[in-house]
Amino acid sequence: MGEYGLRLLLATLCGALLGAERSFRRKDAGVRTHSILSLATCLFMLLSKYAFFGAQGGADPTMIACQIVMGINFMGAGIIFRSGQIISHGLTTAAGIWATAAIGMACGCGMKLLACLFTLMIFGLHLLIQRFNIGGTAYTPREMKITVENTPEMWEVLRQMQQHYQIQILSLRCKRKAEGNTVKLILQVQLLRAIPMEDIIHLMDAHKEFKEFSI
């Protein structure tokens, strides 16, 4: 019994560690989600292995465990956002959810040391990429929609904004609007840091040519 409790506790803690990293980066799935998922997966693994003593017939101790792998899909699907042809964001977090499930399964199985090492590896990976921005993957993908008057000054303003906030443009869709000389730009971008809202309001105030700005 103590052994089961230890496995459950370890799963929760490992999940909490990964969740803390995601939470710190202001992602959707935080400490609670990760630790509850890890705990639930560990529980299912324990049930898979030890819940069928005394039943009639030959129980397969891997049955429940293999359905965990399928059952975790709903969480991943809920976290990934798609916008048109591009995956908007949430991919890394969804992968982390899958890893958390694996950690819970390892703990439930009794492979406690392996689970701990794996947790530390993933945590280290996150820290490394964030710190050194290897491969430029520390960005957050977002979608920006701007409706603006089509003048050279505005393009200059936009260009300065892109430089200032280090915005990487992945794709651009430009639609001409019926009234006036306005265009609607739909951009898939990657931002290193968020654009504060007061900057946006300030921008719209300073340049009345901006009709709409959404990020």
Binding site: L37, L43, L47, A51, G71, G78, M204, E212
Partner: protein
């Protein structure tokens, strides 16, 4: 003491009572987990969690004990059948319950709501299964751990966990005073803007639709007070 021993003996000897105890235990565990969610005003409350736990317990009982008549007295499978795997139906609970979890998740533009509730529902099904299998201690430990995790995170919030998402719509006349007032209010309530859509609609009026993360819900009277104090605000919805 002897009375309790007698009661326990009676229950274990009569299978149906033993099952009843397991179902009730699942109900209680589900109630505890659901109680915490109700207190935070989430959609999936006590009843949802109770029913999920109970049903999972029942399915586990069926999976484990429901096929006893497929095995004859000698312990062999009846001719024509293959033999029973008591874990098979129980395994499908894990993937089958995910539809309920998926239904609790709300995606809105760039934000998600309900991830923790969905995870909790998945875990509640697990707790129900543990009760159904008769592993009361494990069920108790998991319930306790879930409650601890939930309550601990409300005390010591790290990063994103302190916040809940919602949407604020404001239509206002743009003046420096109202901007300062909004900024002060944002700092006071600890509101974090994740998505914004700002539209200018003639006469210096701005229409803002914001997806925000805030620590506590804004009380109704504060909303009214804010609108009273600042007549530049044409409409405000939280």
């Amino acid at each position: 003491m002897e009375l309790i021993d007698n009661v326990i003996n009676y229950i274990t000897n009569h299978h149906i009572l033993s099952c009843l105890v397991r179902l009730i235990a699942a109900l209680i565990c589900g109630a505890f987990i659901g109680l915490e969610r109700t207190k935070r005003s989430k959609e999936a409350g006590i009843r949802t969690h109770c029913i999920i736990a109970c049903a999972s317990a029942l399915i586990m009982i069926i999976s484990k004990y429901g096929f006893g008549d497929m095995i004859d007295a000698a312990g062999n499978a009846i001719a024509g059948t293959r033999g029973v795997d008591p874990s098979r139906i129980a395994a499908q609970v894990v993937s089958g319950i995910s539809f309920l979890g998926a239904g609790v998740i709300f995606k809105n533009g760039n934000t998600v709501k309900g991830l923790t509730t969905a995870a909790g529902i998945w875990a509640t099904a697990g707790v129900g299964m543990a009760c159904g299998a008769g592993m009361y201690e494990i069920a108790g430990i998991v319930t306790l751990l879930i409650l601890v995790v939930q309550m601990l995170m409300h005390r010591f919030s790290i990063g994103n966990d302190a916040y809940s998402t919602s949407e604020i719509r404001i239509t206002l006349v743009d003046t420096p005073e109202i901007r300062a007032a909004l900024k002060a209010k944002q700092a006071e309530l600890g509101i974090d803007v994740t998505n914004s859509r700002i539209t200018t609609c003639g006469d210096n009026t701005l229409n803002l639709i914001l997806q925000v993360r805030m620590k506590n819900a804004i009380p109704f009277n504060e909303v009214m007070k804010f609108m009273d104090e600042h007549p530049e605000i044409k409409s405000l919805s939280v």
